[in-house]
């Protein structure tokens, strides 16, 4: 077991180094000069050169990368060249909102998808099923900024029920209701297309499970339909769903940018975009590293979840 863990850890490290190196070098290759960002357009060349030296930009890219890597290994992720805040600090302010957005979005998506998929699969080809299918396709095809705009317009401006921006977000522990009020529309925007994906996945798998012998036997045993769907059918049909959820968590960090932007959420996505645009080596690379680690961690968690959902995998081991 420990050898197994060590192996995984080694792979993770290799992956992190590869991905962050690519990111660092790519950033270095982009035009633009962080010293100019800092000093403004009016700085004279001597001042710029001095600033570059101060920022360490005069060294070769590999040296700078290795230095960042060495510091990162000690959990010192450097400072933002532009705002001169520590990257760790920037991340700690940006992370909670993004994590909350993702968690709420995923939760909401699952909560929408599971009952709908169950209803749809119960009467395949029926009115509910066809309605859900077409609805899912539509939800998949709406550009998220259009959706965001209209949700804000309807629930914020017309009805006045919910805030359209996330501003001075209260902590979910201290003021859960206030927090939820602000995060609701962004989460819905994120959840709608996700739910569509999940519905389609789950419906297919449910239909496959429904024709399994043990489901037929459960019917033959006189168990109620609701009991059969929830107790016997749902769990064995959810492995693909679990995979999709896990993969999305990783992919969404980048994908949530538009939503963060539209609801003025101070999140990792926005931070990533601005740090790439501004050639913030440390910030961008740290975020990329964080995302890589998340992907790997999430994959590991999925493996564990698989085992929970489907005990057959537990046995097979890794």
């Amino acid at each position: 077991m420990s050898r197994l863990l060590a192996g995984r850890l080694l792979r993770l490290l290799a992956l992190v180094v590869a991905v962050t190196l690519v990111c660092y070098v790519l950033l270095d290759a982009t035009p633009g000069d962080p010293a100019v960002w800092r000093l403004g357009n009016n700085a004279d060349p001597a001042a710029l050169a001095a600033m570059r030296q101060e920022m360490g930009l005069d060294r070769p890219v590999l040296v700078r990368y290795l230095r960042w890597l060495g510091d990162a290994a000690r959990f010192d992720f450097g400072t933002s060249l532009f705002t001169r805040r520590s990257v760790g600090g920037l991340l700690t302010t940006a992370l909670p909102a993004t994590i909350e957005l993702l968690v709420l979005g995923e939760l909401l998506a699952v909560c929408i998808a599971v009952p709908l998929a169950l209803r749809a699969a119960r009467r395949p080809g029926g009115l509910v099923d066809r309605g859900v299918s077409v609805g899912a396709f539509a939800a998949l095809s709406i550009p998220s900024f259009v959706l965001a705009l209209y949700l804000g317009w309807i629930f914020g401006v017309r009805l006045g029920w919910l805030p359209t921006i996330v501003s001075h977000l209260p902590s979910p522990w201290r003021d859960p209701l206030g927090n939820l009020r602000q995060m609701f529309l962004p989460s819905v925007t994120l959840a709608v297309p996700l739910a569509a994906v999940y519905i389609r996945l789950l419906r297919t798998d449910l239909l496959a499970t429904l024709s399994e012998d043990y489901v037929l036997l459960a019917t033959a045993r006189g168990l109620g339909e609701r009991r059969i769907m929830w107790r016997h059918v749902l769990r064995p049909s959810s492995t693909n769903l679990v995979t999709a959820i896990g993969m999305n968590v990783a992919g969404l960090v980048g994908g949530a940018v538009v939503i963060e932007r539209f609801f003025a959420i101070n999140g990792v996505g926005q931070l990533l975009v601005s740090s790439i645009v501004g050639k913030e080596f440390s910030t961008a690379t740290t975020i990329v590293m964080l995302m890589t680690v998340t992907v790997v961690l999430v994959n590991t968690i999925i493996d564990v979840l698989y085992a929970l959902v489907d005990p057959r995998i537990r046995r097979a081991g890794v």
Partner: protein
């Protein structure tokens, strides 16, 4: 931070910083905007209602609070809310000391003495004394980024508990104007150069700052002006997208915001649910096209004139700015006492075609490339301009510079035409660093245009304290710019640089009373203003 948004005008950062302040107004030349409260009488320095928290959206965050560094408009807006300058601008185009008790010069304007009011303290309790003033000004003079603006300053010394002397290396009559903005900001000496906190002297103190997201400012209980500020706190939220700002405003999530879209201004102006406060009559940026005059074909004044004549600025303003702006022919606002009529070439497509045809006959076809920052609304502007030029016989292409590419890199020599916003100076002297050729060595002279008459005019305006002399100098500058056309002027943006607030939020912009009861301008351009007198309905 650097994201583009639908309508963000990003000028040169430093220019905005230095030139913030009050425009020189000819009293009564332009009525203050109807929606701005206060009319022309100074608003008394008291609060009709005390307390409350205002929620306000800015379009972009700044870069921090280092007053000796390059400062983004977002930073200026925040600092303006938390700080007072040594000098304030007054209606009619003059200046008055604000934080300082007096500012006086020797006869040839080579030594300026600044005397502070007694008893003012910084947010951290340190006294604002002569030493603090000297330290701040010295830091500005030697700052990597700011030094160019103080090249005329030789040294600064604290001469008493409340006084400091600024010694020039050549006469500088317009010096106090430069103290209206960044150079006049006083911060606690121990924090000079600090970026992520701000310890100033103003009505509000920085409680928290989340870069790119928000800032929270709270009342300074020891503010030097009794009875101010009115609000308990100001919550600032940075929302880069104008659609989102408007939506949040309509939904009541914010009390006001800056930089509304042109369509928003048009439609909110008639709305009882909002007040639009524009910088009408104040010093605003100009939209313009920089021409690189060192390279063919733009080294030919006829080509430059032809390009100017090809542009129908009336149509441009009607379409792009909903008719809210005014045509420009130089960096000097039409309402400035220095403004004079010039013969800047106006729309004349036939003449433009002729001039172009003549040049083409002699030198071959003209191909021009307009560069711009990646921003959809700017792109629309350039699109329209390109269509005029194409009709005039100039083959025009448009190139966006990269998102991560700074404008300066793109602008330094390696360009033909650049789409640009700049020059919101209060006093023309503020533009000295950008127009004076310095014999062709000034890198800030974007167009690389060397013209002795322009240099002479600026020198005259700078050294003289005589208004007539200064007027003479700036008239020369304006006429030379109009005839040589190194820059294609489109419009003064006074009408579209604006703030929006709901009717409950009062005291944005308008004329403010100084401690001595005399009036001062409360709003500089449409989106820079002090929060000291802002109050909310109870």
């Amino acid at each position: 931070m650097h994201g583009t948004s639908a309508r963000t005008r990003r000028g040169i950062q430093l220019a905005a910083a230095l030139l913030i302040g009050v425009p020189a107004l000819t009293a009564g030349a332009t009525a203050p905007p109807a929606s701005a409260p206060g009319g022309s009488a100074p608003e008394p320095a008291t609060c009709p209602h005390q307390g409350g928290t205002a929620r306000f959206a800015l379009d972009n965050d700044g870069t921090g609070f280092d007053t000796t560094g390059a400062i983004a408009p977002g930073s200026i807006r925040l600092i303006t809310a938390m700080n007072d300058s040594l000098v304030a601008a007054i209606p009619g185009g003059g200046w008055k000391p604000l934080l300082a008790e007096s500012i006086t010069a020797n006869p040839d304007a080579t030594v300026w003495t600044i005397t502070m009011r007694p008893g003012i303290t910084f947010h951290d309790g340190a006294p604002v004394d002569g030493a603090a003033v000297a330290a701040n000004l010295e830091a500005f003079r030697t700052g990597k980024v700011t030094a160019y603006a103080f090249t005329a300053v030789d040294h600064i010394t604290a001469t008493g508990p409340l006084t400091a002397e600024v010694h020039m290396n050549r006469p500088w009559g317009a010096f106090p104007y430069s103290l209206i903005g960044q150079a006049g900001w006083m911060v606690s000496p121990s924090t000079i150069g600090t970026n992520d906190r701000f310890v100033g002297v103003g009505p509000f103190m920085l409680e928290s700052w989340t870069p790119g997201d928000s800032a929270r400012l709270v009342r300074n209980p020891h503010y030097w002006r009794a009875g101010l500020p009115c609000l308990d706190a100001v919550e600032i939220k940075f929302i880069p997208d104008s659609t989102v700002r408007r939506q949040a405003f309509d939904a009541g999530d914010i009390d006001g915001f800056i930089n509304p879209s042109v369509e928003d201004i048009v439609d909110l102006k008639g709305s009882p649910a909002a007040q639009v406060i524009t910088g009408d009559g104040a010093a605003a940026n100009e939209y313009l096209l920089l021409l690189n005059t060192t390279k063919a074909p733009l080294d030919d004044v006829n080509v430059r004139r032809a390009l100017a004549m090809a542009i129908d600025r009336d149509l441009f303003i009607k379409n792009q700015e909903a008719g809210l702006t005014t045509k420009a022919s130089s960096f000097i606002d039409l309402n400035s006492p220095f403004a004079v009529p010039t013969d800047y070439p106006d729309y004349d497509p036939a003449a433009a075609k002729q001039l172009i045809a003549a040049y083409v006959a002699a030198h071959g076809p003209i191909n021009l490339e307009i560069k711009l920052e990646p921003n959809p609304s700017v792109r629309a502007n350039v699109d329209l301009i390109a269509s005029f030029w194409n009709d005039a016989g100039v083959d025009t292409t448009i190139t966006e510079i990269g998102v991560g590419q700074s404008a300066i890199t793109a602008i330094s020599d390696n360009y033909q035409v650049f789409s640009w916003f700049q020059f919101s100076s209060i006093d023309p002297d503020g533009e000295y660093p950008f127009f004076h050729s310095g014999g062709g060595t000034n890198v800030l002279n974007w167009t690389n245009f060397v013209d002795p008459k322009i240099d002479e005019g600026f020198d005259l305006g700078r050294t003289s304290q005589d208004p007539a002399e200064r007027t003479k100098g700036y008239t020369m500058v304006q006429q030379e710019l109009a005839s040589q056309v190194p820059i294609l002027w489109i419009d003064h943006l006074n009408g579209v640089e604006a703030a929006v607030a709901n009717p409950k939020l009062h005291g944005i912009g308008g004329i403010k009373a100084l401690p001595d009861g005399s009036p001062a301008l409360g709003m500089v351009s449409g989106s820079f203003f002090s929060w000291a007198g802002v109050w909310l309905d109870g």
